[in-house]
């Protein structure tokens, strides 16, 4: 392998060029892409929650972890007479599409009744109460007239896991050093999302991903863990409601009800104790909508797409139930000249 052309200096021009190119690439990425990716390895715990203020006075929703918002952009300040509704939560309020989600349906309902209203769907799939609260803290900075807080207790395992990962990434461990570089991170993401997701079927990708479904099931069968998660859901939700109250923003709690098979074989709904908890929080500025009540008489086989998620017509029903709380009406009345 020795070659007469191999130079005998410690560094070579080729090496210096490669290093120089990488430094330039890192600079370019930091200059132009940092806002859209800086929180990637915070796994949803980045304080910005993926809200990025643009120079044109708008806020765009980027990522703050592996999960994403529906792409949306809104002005920092809502127009003076427009009411701003913000829905935060997990995959249930997110819905299968932006248009069919109850956030947008609620906006349409108000609009059909002559109100100037903008409704933003700030729900992110897989988020438990802690990460939902990170989103809520950001949402409250952008002058909502009403916050809809979807309360669910089924994402605590993922919340915990992602918290662990985010701490690990912020730590010293050399395993994470490569991804501290934004150019490497950008390329890694591009490869994953633009190439891998495009070209590899789910069946192929699924084998590669870290599958901790067994660990999740084991955790969800552990009464002590469930009790711990239940306590956390209540504590953090109470704190989220307090944040809204302190910001002077009315809040509607939507409590999740899961579809279950009852002992007699029929389908039923299980609120997991969330209804009673949410009811205990209600007051003049805190209203509550229970999915268990909204869908009490519904055909659960068609209303639900699976154990937790509901189909678009059910989103419409939830939007109507939210409107019927009258919170936004009272807000409008209070602000009327």
């Amino acid at each position: 392998m020795p070659s007469p052309r191999t130079p005998a200096r410690l560094t070579t021009r080729a090496f210096l060029l490669a290093v120089g190119l990488l430094i330039v690439a890192e600079g370019v990425v930091r200059l132009f892409f940092s806002s859209s990716m800086s929180g990637r390895f915070d796994y949803g715990y980045n304080p910005t929650a993926g809200f990025v203020e643009r120079a044109d006075g708008t806020v765009s929703l980027e990522r703050s972890g592996g999960r994403r918002f529906f792409p949306q952009r809104f002005p920092v300040q809502p127009p003076p007479t427009t009411y701003r509704v913000m829905v935060v939560g997990d995959s249930v309020p997110r819905g299968s599409s932006l248009e069919s989600s109850y956030a947008r349906q609620l906006g349409s309902l108000f609009a059909s009744e002559g109100a100037l209203c903008e409704a933003w769907n700030l729900a992110v799939p897989g988020y438990g109460v802690r990460r939902v609260q990170v989103v809520l803290r950001q949402a409250l900075r952008y002058h909502p007239s009403l916050v809809v807080l979807h309360v669910n207790d089924s994402n605590e395992y993922e919340d915990e896991r992602e918290w662990r990962r985010s701490r690990e990434f912020q730590g010293w461990h050399p395993r994470n050093w490569l991804m501290k570089s934004l150019v490497f991170r950008r390329l890694y993401e591009a490869r994953t999302e633009k190439v891998s997701w495009e070209l590899l079927p789910e069946a192929v990708r699924g084998r590669q991903g870290v599958n901790d479904a067994d660990a999740e099931i084991a955790a969800s069968m552990n009464p002590a863990r469930l009790a711990e998660w239940g306590d956390r859901v209540r504590t953090v939700t109470r704190e989220s409601v307090r944040l809204c109250t302190e910001a002077g923003v009315p809040v509607v709690l939507v409590t999740q009800a899961r579809r279950t098979r009852l002992a007699d074989g029929r389908l039923g709904l299980d609120d997991g104790g969330l209804d009673a908890f949410a009811q205990s929080l209600t007051n003049r500025t805190v209203a509550w909508v229970a999915m268990s009540r909204v869908f009490r008489d519904a055909d659960l086989a068609t209303t639900y797409a699976d154990g937790s998620h509901v189909r678009p017509p059910a989103h419409q029903a939830l939007a109507r139930a939210l409107r019927d709380t009258g919170l936004l009406e009272s807000r409008r009345a209070a602000r009327a000249p």
Binding site: S3, A14, L16, L17, A18, A25, P174, L178, Y188, A190
Partner: protein, 531 residues
């Protein structure tokens, strides 16, 4: 410790930094310590086996050369495996570190205790033989002990299960409780290197190491310990014995080899593995399109994986001023099976040529005898890869190809063709035949192989559409490799870039680094570690 683990760069950096500051003997100690640490990172018990081969072959090697050592030395050094196992059992678990130390069973200790007694007796007996028979006896002892270690740890359960199945077929039911035998990583490689050491001393092609630490560092040398290249003492040992002088060229070549190795492993192999693992999962429903794509993906996976490993090994060794043998030379450009084996896993195929095929008679005894030697060699080479009938079949398949290319004149003519079109056809045909071999190699059972072959009977139009995107994935990751090889094919070394202009080299390094970094999360182990 894997080359692609996060620990390895720190480990290598520390070893390289220390190595060049030490005197020659200090370097041997450093390499010995580093190599054993590297090996023990998988399982501390494995070190006892490496010590077994080391102590036995050290004394056998010197005895073959006519150098007698005191029996007390023989007994003491051959008791090192026992000593190490006692340390593993009695000392390591009490260390204040958070490590799950593996259990050392009573059987392991008993076997290690028998070793110094048995070997010392055999050693003493060997020296009582007539001088004309002594060297041969010690060569036999070395080969037998290495094959015994390899046979027990790698093949005992395979042959026992095969025997039970055979007896069941004959209507005889036996109820044996087979022991759980752990297959120590790297065992196939260092036992073969040990055998070649003893045989080469006997043949006068190498001299024995006259220092135990030197020999232990030579046999356990961490860059090539786990998956080769399988080195020969005549070429390799002098590199340890001669003081190497620091030269920045070692740094340039070493880093370049490491970069190319990472590229082959992390960009090509690990990404092709996604498709190959899917196709060769017994639960995956297959049609002809998927079966074909899977085997193409596997062909590039195993090539990228193993040649990437070799480049990483060569690069790591180069940083220490040591040059390892090249193991791969554009194997998929081979025009026939004979050329394929001159380009693929070169140190293994030359090992089998020199220590199995030629001693069997090679091609000196007529066509029939030559073919028989060929078949024996290839079947044994297949079995070397793993204790499974699919590997035996894979060896037989390559023996069949070698036989066909010898017997069928048109094929032989095609392999020797020098015209451009002839070479293209020959390479394409050989690549297709190689794929057939890889399907046998990759299937974990004959039933799975049957499933894969059956899938080739159906080529639905819908399947062609579904396979397009994953085929694109394979292409995206293979294309940079093809491009790289196209640019280096005239150099006979896959990592050689010295002929390129420095600007092109710098750009290529930057792009390769970016590609490696974007694939860094795959974290897959090397395939050849299991052999």
């Amino acid at each position: 410790m894997s080359f692609v683990s996060w620990q390895y760069p720190f480990f290598l950096l520390a070893v390289v930094a220390l190595y060049w500051r030490l005197p020659l003997r200090g370097r041997w100690w450093l390499l010995l310590g580093a190599s054993y640490l590297f090996y023990a990172a998988w399982d501390v018990r494995f070190v006892a086996l490496l010590l077994t081969s080391t102590s036995l072959d050290y004394f056998c090697g010197r005895a073959i050369a006519g150098e007698r050592r005191p029996l007390s030395h023989v007994a003491l050094l051959s008791a090192l495996p026992l000593g190490w196992l006692i340390v593993c059992r009695e000392v390591l678990p009490h260390l204040p570190v958070d490590v799950a130390w593996p259990d050392v069973g009573g059987w392991s200790l008993a076997m290690a205790a028998v070793l110094p007694v048995a070997f010392t007796l055999l050693y003493a007996w060997g020296w009582r033989l007539a001088e004309s028979r002594r060297a041969r006896a010690f060569v036999t002892l070395s080969i037998a002990s290495n094959l015994a270690v390899l046979g027990f740890f790698k093949y005992f359960n395979f042959f026992a299960v095969s025997l039970v199945t055979l007896l069941a077929g004959a209507g005889i039911t036996v109820h044996w409780t087979l022991p759980t035998i752990l297959l120590p990583i790297a065992i196939s490689f260092y036992t073969f290197q040990s055998i070649s050491y003893a045989v080469d001393i006997h043949r006068g092609k190498a001299h024995p190491a006259r220092d135990f630490v030197l020999f232990a560092a030579y046999l356990g040398f961490f860059p090539q310990l786990v998956s080769g290249p399988i080195e020969r003492a005549g070429r390799f040992l002098p590199q340890f014995e001669t003081p190497r002088v620091w030269d920045p060229v070692c740094l340039h070549q070493g880093l370049r080899l490491i970069l190319v190795g990472l590229f082959k492993k992390m960009v090509v192999a690990d990404n092709c593995a996604l498709v190959a693992n899917h196709v060769f999962d017994p639960r995956t429903p297959l049609d002809g399109w998927w079966a074909a794509l899977g085997v193409v993906a596997f062909a590039f996976q195993i090539y990228g994986d193993f040649s990437g490993y070799t480049d990483l090994a060569r690069g790591s060794a180069r940083l220490l001023g040591i040059e390892l043998s090249n193991n791969f030379q554009f194997p998929y450009l081979a025009r026939g099976p004979s050329e394929f084996w001159q380009r693929w896993h070169i140190t293994l195929s030359t090992w089998f040529r020199d220590y199995v095929y030629i001693p069997l008679g090679g091609n000196r005894g007529g066509t029939g005898r030559t073919l028989l030697n060929l078949w024996i060699t290839m079947v044994v080479a297949g079995l070397w890869h793993g204790a499974s009938w699919t590997f035996v079949l894979w060896g037989a398949y390559h023996a069949l190809l070698l036989s066909l290319y010898r017997l069928a004149t048109p094929l032989a003519r095609l392999e020797a063709s020098t015209s451009r079109m002839g070479r293209i056809v020959a390479v394409a045909l050989m690549f297709g035949l190689t794929l057939g071999g890889w399907a046998i190699f990759r299937c974990t059972s004959l039933a799975q192989l049957t499933h894969w072959v059956a899938a080739l009977a159906t080529w639905p139009a819908a399947g062609a559409i579904s396979v397009l995107r994953p085929a694109g994935w394979v292409l995206v990751h293979v294309a940079p490799l093809v491009l790289w090889q196209w640019a280096t094919v005239s150099r006979r070394d896959e990592a050689e870039t010295d002929a390129w202009p420095w600007g092109a080299r710098g750009l290529a390094y930057a792009v390769v680094l970016l590609l490696v970094a974007s694939s860094a999360a795959n974290d897959q182990e090397f395939i050849y570690f299991q052999f």
